[in-house]
């Protein structure tokens, strides 16, 4: 009986939707992130010495004073890095259009310091929007940051100047006190970021 099947499907669908809606609110009825994983411990970052896209020395203090959404990639990455940076830039522009305050900064940390000079980072991050930060520098300094944040990267095969780098695809959210607060696993979407970031940024300090 097709009509009965349809009815059952509808009822099931509504029940699932209701369940999902409930799951997106915590016990006090507050809206919860739907894609991000919240990290209540709020681990602080280790000391490191990198360079921003202007060649200025940047330590852990660079992550203090604003909310940051942080991705780890490299400028010779043709696919996942521009796709992710595009999503982050679009999300920021949508939040800005919605009047969201504060607005997060988009940060790219290079996992390919051999080729990613500050100049290369400057060109690359400007391509995806204004107000972006690019960090690069000595491999050992990058490792201090990535090891503390659980980010994996490893140079992969290829030609001497056309190699790839395998790397984590997670997007991290760092609060204005320089603490890791949340993460978005891939694939990140503009809609999820626009939904979740205001909730994360409005959370308990």
């Amino acid at each position: 009986m097709p009509s009965r099947t349809l009815l059952i499907s509808l009822v099931l669908g509504i029940a699932i939707a209701a369940g999902l809606a409930l799951a997106l609110r915590d016990s006090t009825g507050q809206a919860m992130p739907r894609a991000a994983t919240l990290l209540p411990a709020g681990n602080t970052l280790p000391d490191f010495a990198l360079l921003d896209q202007g060649g200025t020395r940047a330590g852990k203090g660079v992550f203090e004073g604003q909310w940051d959404v942080v991705f780890f990639g490299f400028t010779n990455c043709p696919d996942i890095c521009p796709a992710t940076m595009t999503v982050l830039g679009q999300a920021r522009r949508q939040l800005e259009a919605l009047g969201q305050q504060p607005l997060p900064r988009v940060v790219l940390v290079s996992v390919d310091p051999e080729r990613d000079t500050p100049e290369a980072m400057a060109r690359y991050i400007a391509y995806f929007g204004d107000h972006n930060l690019g960090l690069t520098g000595e491999l050992v300094e990058i490792r201090k940051l990535t090891d503390a944040l659980g980010i994996f990267f490893q140079k992969a095969g290829g030609d001497a100047d056309a190699y790839g780098v395998d790397h984590s695809t997670v997007v991290l959210v760092i609060d204005p006190w320089g603490r890791l607060k949340a993460l978005f696993s891939a694939p990140q979407t503009v809609a999820d970021l626009v939904h979740d970031l205001p909730l994360i940024m409005a959370g308990e300090p």
Binding site: P78, D79, A83, R123, G164, S168, P187
Partner: protein, 141 residues
């Protein structure tokens, strides 16, 4: 994002031995990301439908506006993206192969000029010429 542009589909047909009425191999939704200033590469995305009546195999991709073009695939395992070259790609008869962000893509390296054409070479000796249209410079936003 402003320079991410869409090249509208160029279609094409392989000179081939189709017994069907329509074109045997069709490429649609061709999108090429414009290389950022000074950046050494762009990515290309498209769909290739095979209605040729037999399986086909792409053995080489080239473009007069790029020094080298390779087929690559981004594989995400345990949250880690790994990019691997695809030396040759088979498309079964009746299938459509999708090149999309986060998956298979054309890696277009060493750009020298505005991208206008991409050629797919098949094992059979056929060629599929994708002309990237004037819309290339239109902003995607």
């Amino acid at each position: 994002m402003k320079r991410l542009v869409t090249a509208v589909a160029a279609l094409a047909l392989a000179a081939g031995c189709s017994r069907n009425d329509g074109p045997p191999v069709v490429a649609t939704d061709v999108v090429v990301t414009a290389p950022a200033a000074g950046m050494p590469m762009a990515a290309g995305y498209l769909r290739i439908g095979n209605r040729s009546g037999s399986d086909i195999r792409i053995t080489r991709v080239s473009s007069p506006e790029f020094g080298a073009v390779e087929m690559h695939e981004t594989i995400i395992e345990d949250g880690v993206a790994r990019m691997r070259a695809i030396p040759a790609l088979e498309i079964a008869n009746g299938d459509t192969m999708v090149f999309e962000p986060g998956g298979k893509h054309l890696m277009l390296m060493q750009p020298f000029g505005e991208p206008r054409a991409i050629t797919l070479n098949f094992y059979s000796g056929d060629e599929l010429l994708l002309s990237i249209g004037a819309d290339f410079t239109a902003a995607m936003e």
